[in-house]
């Protein structure tokens, strides 16, 4: 699936988008896999209360299932308007 990062999450991880081959069944499992990769992922995912997630461009929870998901995005709380 495609994993996208925005704002300071993108800056900490150092890229806006990557292709991830994963067997994770929930967002939380995907987060754990990414955390185990490298320091920069640990830094980005240190505090999940400071993060939001979208599955296929709809806001979701961290315990949401990933079955059939094509695109998962991580970003800080939004500041539009």
């Amino acid at each position: 699936m495609d994993v996208l990062y925005f704002a300071w999450v993108r800056e900490r991880i150092g890229l806006p988008k990557e292709r991830v081959e994963t067997s994770a069944t929930t967002v939380m499992e995907l987060v754990e896999e990414l955390r185990n990769r490298e320091e920069r992922y640990q830094a980005a995912f240190a505090d999940l209360t400071a993060l939001r997630v979208a599955i296929d461009q709809d806001l979701a929870d961290f315990d949401a299932p990933l079955a059939g998901a094509r695109e998962v995005a991580f970003f800080p709380p939004m500041t539009g308007g």
Binding site: Q57, L59, A73, F75, M78, T79, G80
Partner: protein, 145 residues
């Protein structure tokens, strides 16, 4: 209903005028415009967004407003990219038979697009840059709806 996400500036007067014209059964039009404030030595603001999700989220918010209030039309224009103090960031407009619906729907749109539309503001000053943190009060504002 029109949703526009663009980096270019927009002409508020022309947009508001066009929106307000031609609604023979709409007695009220409300507009809101957000402008970059030059507080704290701000040089510029840059807004990042999530192409695709942004349009989808704005359409959802506008659609919910139309279900909730008696509205003839809704317009949302939101910019991304770099903006200087004084520049317009975004506008919403609502048209309704009566003003209460138009005012309330415009407030609803603003409350929701502040914390449910995927935009992120970054402020640049002479000292560097910082991402704007979401405020608890913006999240709290949703509970009144």
């Amino acid at each position: 209903m029109r949703i526009v996400v663009q980096s270019d500036p927009f002409d508020f007067g022309a947009e508001a005028g066009e929106f307000a014209a031609g609604h023979h059964d709409m007695g009220a039009v409300v507009t809101f415009t957000g402008i970059v404030r030059g507080d704290g030595g701000l040089d510029r603001m840059e807004i990042e967004h999530y192409p695709g999700m942004t349009e989808k989220a704005l359409e959802k918010i506008a659609g919910e407003a139309r279900e909730r209030w008696s509205l003839g039309d809704v317009l949302v224009i939101h910019r991304f990219g770099a903006m200087k103090p004084g520049e317009m960031i975004m506008m919403v407009a609502t048209a309704a038979p009566h003003r209460k619906d138009a005012f309330e729907a415009a407030e609803y749109l603003m409350d929701y697009l502040k914390s449910r539309a995927p935009f992120w503001k970054q402020e640049f000053t002479a000292d560097g840059s910082a991402w704007v943190a979401a405020k608890d009060e913006d999240e709290d504002a949703l509970t009144r709806w």
